[in-house]
Amino acid sequence: MKFLTGGILLLLSFINTEAQQKLFTKTGIAVFFSKAPIENIEAKNNKLFSVWDVSSGQIEFSILMKGFAFDKALMQEHFNENYVESDKYPKAFFKGVMENPKNISLDKDGTYLVKVIGMLTLHGITRQITVPAKIEVKNKIISASTTFTLQLAEYKIKIPRIVSDNISKSILINILVPSFQPLTPH
């Protein structure tokens, strides 16, 4: 019995050391596109935060909505004031987990296509999403990217009929983390 407990404890401590392998970024890039008959809208935010626990596959993202920069200042104001209501809901979050995290080896060059399932919180609404992601290791630089589509109605972001030809109901989102850094606990 003691042997078993000791073995489990040893195993657990092993898991625990492995769990130390966490990566983070504060300079991820999020871009979204709206393609509509009258105009295309694009906005970019290059302060996407993320923490990735490599062994468990758990990954989280957080972004300040006011950090999205638009080409037209008025669009940016309307985005914050009328659509995502940044004062009320300042951030968007994602908490998810990768399928088969053990298949990923960050020690050598390689490209992995993984499925990430998790909860996305936007405009105060939390919904489950599944996105395909690409993880690339090249010359010890670990990068990740994904592209997916969101339906604005699912997050209770309403597009008034008067601008329905200006703003698409489905928004294409690109996420890119150019380089993950190891997270050292402080």
Partner: protein
């Protein structure tokens, strides 16, 4: 035993999960962002007066302002709609904090020019600034033909103003600003009037939906003005649709520049001397991309 092991396992999994949440949180909090407060008003003018809002860099605001006759004139004048006074202006954001504007009004064929600069912008976070401070200065000149025996020269027809705007967006719905102003007319309409008039004013906005708001704008002039002149009070309704802002209002003032509305408003608002009017603002992006 199994129970103990599984509970230990659960608690460890739980611990590592919560540790991670804390990590993302600490990462989140490590950069205390300064968030600028935007959209205190829908437009760069509350109704008549400048607001603490600025045009963004390279944005051109084409404004058409109309003021009609008194509603109390009745059906014969179609409740004032037969008499229209008009001002057209082009305002341009040279930077996010500096705007240049030019306008012309039908009333006395007045041409006006202004500069407006933001000194401080309300923000929260690392830098907590409770108010926005904006200064505006302008000049205007009557260009209508004079039939007076001695024709007034350019200087006689000119006036200047300096205005300070102190505004705060108190909540998503409510914004308020104080707008003290000094107007100097080189030759007032009536010789007994003070050349320099100081006025204390205020303006506010109450949002009733995401795209509509109720606004008001009031100035109280101090100094000697002819007794026919009153304090300009306007109550408006803002409607925003994409690149346009429509401002509908009821006001006792006809003038749409600072000299005209501060020193030459004649209607008594509470005696029913109310005019209908509207401002239409269309913003164009001019120049290079950001």
């Amino acid at each position: 035993m199994k129970k103990i092991i599984s509970s230990v396992l659960y608690s460890l999994v739980f611990l590592s999960a919560s540790a991670q949440e804390v990590l993302l949180k600490s990462l989140d909090d490590s950069i205390p962002e300064t968030v600028k407060i935007t959209g205190a008003f829908k437009s760069t003018r509350v109704i008549n007066a400048h607001s603490v809002e600025m045009l963004a860099k390279h944005n051109l605001d084409f404004r058409i302002m109309h003021r009609f006759g008194f509603i109390s004139d009745g059906i014969k004048q179609l409740y004032g709609l037969d008499a229209a006074s008009f001002r057209m202006s082009f305002d341009y954001g040279i930077t996010d904090n500096f705007t240049l504007g030019i306008g012309r009004s039908t009333f006395r064929k007045e041409l006006d020019l202004f500069v407006k600069g933001r000194v401080l912008q309300q923000s929260t976070g690392q830098k907590n600034i409770p108010v926005s401070i904006v200064a505006a200065a302008g000049t205007m000149v009557w260009t209508e033909q004079s039939f007076a025996a001695i024709k007034p020269d350019f200087s006689d027809r000119s006036a200047y103003y300096f205005q300070l705007l102190l505004g705060r967006k108190f909540s998503n719905r409510f914004s308020f600003q104080l707008s003290p102003i000094v107007v100097h007319s080189n030759m007032p309409v009536n010789v007994t009037e003070d050349k320099t008039i100081f006025a204390l004013g205020g303006g506010g906005r109450f949002k009733i939906s995401k795209r509509t708001a109720i606004t008001f704008d009031y100035h109280h002039p101090f100094g000697k003005l002819d007794s026919i002149y009153t304090s300009p009070l306007s109550i408006g309704f803002d409607i925003e649709t994409g690149g346009h802002v429509f401002q509908l209002q009821f006001s006792n003032a006809t003038g749409m520049n600072e000299r005209a509305y501060i020193t030459q408003t004649t209607g008594k608002f509470f005696n029913g001397d109310i005019r209908f009017g509207f401002n239409l603002s269309r913003i164009f992006k001019v120049g290079k991309h950001r």
